[in-house]
Structure formats: C-alpha cells, structure tokens
Symmetry: C2
Subunit: 209 residues, 2 copies
DNA sequence: GCATATTTTAAACAATCATTTAAAATAAGC
DNA sequence: GCTTATTTTAAATGATTGTTTAAAATATGC
C-alpha cells in the first residue's frame, strides 16, 4: 500500500517546513531534512524530484494549513470596523501560530527579504491578494472617495505592522532585549494594530470631507 | 606603498556590499565577490581573514556611511512633532538610498528575517537603539504618563512601517505588481508615515487624559 | 505463493564551496 | 640597486552540497 510512502512523504514535509522556517532555504541541507524525518538521503528526490520542488511543496502545504485553520473572510453582518479587526486578528493568528500554520508567513517574510528563484511569484500573488483585501476594508471604513495612492500607502502601513511580526525569528530570540510577541498576546496585539491604524485611516478622512 | 592594498580592499568591500545586499550572505560566494572586485580568489582571506569577517566589515562600513550621510538626531529647536517627522525622514532616506548607505538597512532586513551566526547581536544593538529613540519621541509627543507596554507597541507600529521598505528587493522587483517606493518619494512617504502614526499616537492620549 | 511494482537503502557522483599553500610579482627601506 | 617586506597569483585542499545509481527490501495483484 501507499501508506508507507505517504508517511515518509509527510515526515519530509513536516521536517522541511520547520527547518526551512528556522534556517532558510539555502541554510538547510537535504541531508539535514532527511535526518530529521528519519528518511534516506535519496528520499527527497524520489518523493519530490528536487530540493526546490520540496520547498515549493512546503510553501503550498503551509499555506493551505493557514487558510483552513484561520480563514480571513469574516461574517457579513459586521460593521466595517469590526470586519477590519477580525481580519487583523486572523492575520496575526496565522503569523504568530506556533504550529505548521505559522511557518508559512515566516517563510513569506524570508522570501520578501531574500527571494528564492521560483517561489517569488507565488509569494507575490498571495501578498497581493492580502493587500487587495485590506484596500477594500479601508475603502469601506473611509466611506468617501479616496485616491488610489493614499489607499496604497495606508495598506503598506497596515501590512507592515502585521508581517513584521513574522521576522521575530528563533535564531534571534537568544539575544533579543525586547520580549517577542507571543500567541497568547494575539487578541490584544490585534486590538492595538486595529486602533492604531483606524486612527490613521480616519485622519485622512478629514481632508476628503 | 599600501595604496595598492587599500584599493583592492576597498573594491572587495564595495562589491561585497552590493552582492550581499542583493543575494544574501549564503547566496554570495567568495569567488563571485572577487570576480566583481577584479581581485584574486585568495584576496578575501588575505585582506579580511574569512568570508564571515568580510561580512562583518561590510556591516560596519555601510553602517558608518549611513550615520555620516543621514544623521538621525534633529535640531533642538523643533517641536516634538517636527522632530518626529525629521527622524522618520532621515530613517527613510537611509533605507531607500540607492548608494552604499541604503545597503545597510537592506542587510538589516535580511538579518531580521534570517540572522547569520555572529552579526545578529550587532544588528540587534543597532535596532534597539533606534527603538529607544522612537520611544523617547513618542513620550515627548504624548506628554502624559503612558505605560511601557503601549509605548513598545506603538514603537513596533512605527519601526515596522519604516524597515518594511527595506524588504523591497531587487530580485523581486521583476514580478512586482505594485510599484516600489523610490527615493524621490521619500519626503511624501515620510509625511504619510508621520501623519498616520501621529494619529495613532494621539488616539491613545484620549485614555490617559 | 509467486511475479510484478513500489519504496527504501547505501554508495558514489560531479559540482561547488571557503580556505590554504607556496611561488611569483611588486613595493619599500636604505 | 640590492635586500627585505608586502601583495597578488594560480593551483590544490578537504569538506559539503544536491543528485543519481543500482541493488535490496517491501508491498501489491492475482
């Protein structure tokens, strides 16, 4: 049966997700992944074809996990400001999650700082989609006509506050003065980003009125 | 004379700064650096001792350039809000600079996403210093007593908006939908971050009054 | 239970990496 | 101008990289 095959395949996926997140694509060797997954050195090429293909699979795998675990689309009955908070909360949950889900946005942060050859486009597609969602939320809150440029800049301000949390890396934790944001803080931190950003969004409303 | 020595040393420094910024530490080979600097393959070890020592030299070199070119401490005669704007402006100039100066904060962004073994502490020292400056600016603007936790979070919101601009990497520019922030936009973008953040800072003032 | 297909294994592969070596080239001191 | 010190060069080193190979082990179909 294919149970045996699937098990090692899954082990490779899990080990690779952790290692790539911790040490990056270039910093992680195939041998290391196979050791961690208790699989043979040749198994990566047998199951995925190459290290790069494994990496792409990890991206897709962690992304799917994030989507199913923390969906970003809130209910319809909410006010636009409540929708905004729910989006930020779900987004932060994804980023700060310590499980497989959290690995994805840490990989995104890595890709943004140092893109690998082929996955750059995929990451950009995903981030573009997130930006579009935020732009829509901003326009809903603003309620007035607002120029494209201003929306793009406000979106930058919001996206950066969230994704920046994905940079707090294990390797840096040791000599980090400030204590990192933990998953337990996710609600209150989402509250902060929401309030801080809503004040900024509303600031621009003065000029269009 | 040592003129010949200094020239190749400087060429190595310049080439390494560009290559490390573009492709990261692990992604750049010593051979590549020497080719770009038109120097022999052994010159890196002769002049710096090792690839890692060269990397540390690049960090220090670009950091010094940033400090002398765009000092962060504004004049004393300004209001606290003007000081805040001047800080953000100088900070953005450093990050968006296309010369050697700009390379430093792009390296910082890389280090935050994927720290290398030894330079992590240095980078953390530098970023901690920037955070401290921003915390002081926030307290000056706020003018009232404000709890440590809130200041830390507001500082995160501000730092992230700035440093996130260092992530817009050359390698990713090709398939980037949104047009990157250019150095020509630095004043108006600094204006945006200032206004957006001041609104957020003032929002919290409501509760302490 | 035997023949076939699938998965795992150990070994070897060629390429690349940072670094070292020792000789050659150039500069400096006097 | 000759000796000494410094810098550059080309070649080799040993370690590590991702990938391939072919045999061994295991599962599957009937």
């Amino acid at each position: 049966m294919t149970d045996r095959k699937n098990r090692t395949r899954q082990n490779l996926l899990d080990s690779a997700a952790v290692l790539f997140t911790e040490k990056g694509y270039a910093g992680t060797s195939v041998a290391e992944i196979c050791d961690s997954a208790r699989a043979n050195i040749a198994s990566v090429n047998y199951h995925f074809g190459s290290k790069e293909a494994l990496y792409r699979s990890v991206i897709g795998y962690t992304y799917d996990q994030a989507n199913t675990l923390y969906p970003l689309d809130a209910g319809e009955k909410m006010s636009s400001e409540e929708k905004f908070y729910c989006f930020i909360l779900a987004f932060l949950k994804r980023i700060l999650s310590t499980s497989m889900t959290g690995n994805f946005y840490k990989l995104v942060a890595k890709e943004m700082a140092e893109p690998t050859r082929e996955s750059g486009t995929l990451i950009n597609e995903i981030i573009s989609a997130k930006r579009a969602k935020i732009e829509k939320l901003i326009r809903d809150i603003h309620d007035e006509d607002i120029d494209e440029e201003t929306v793009v800049r406000m979106t930058h301000s919001i996206v950066s506050q969230c994704l920046f949390l994905g940079l707090n890396e294990k390797g840096r934790r040791h000599h980090l003065k400030r204590k990192p944001v933990r998953f337990e803080d996710v609600e209150s931190f989402a509250r902060h980003i929401t309030d801080f950003s809503l004040a900024g969004i509303k600031y621009y409303r003065k000029f269009t009125l």
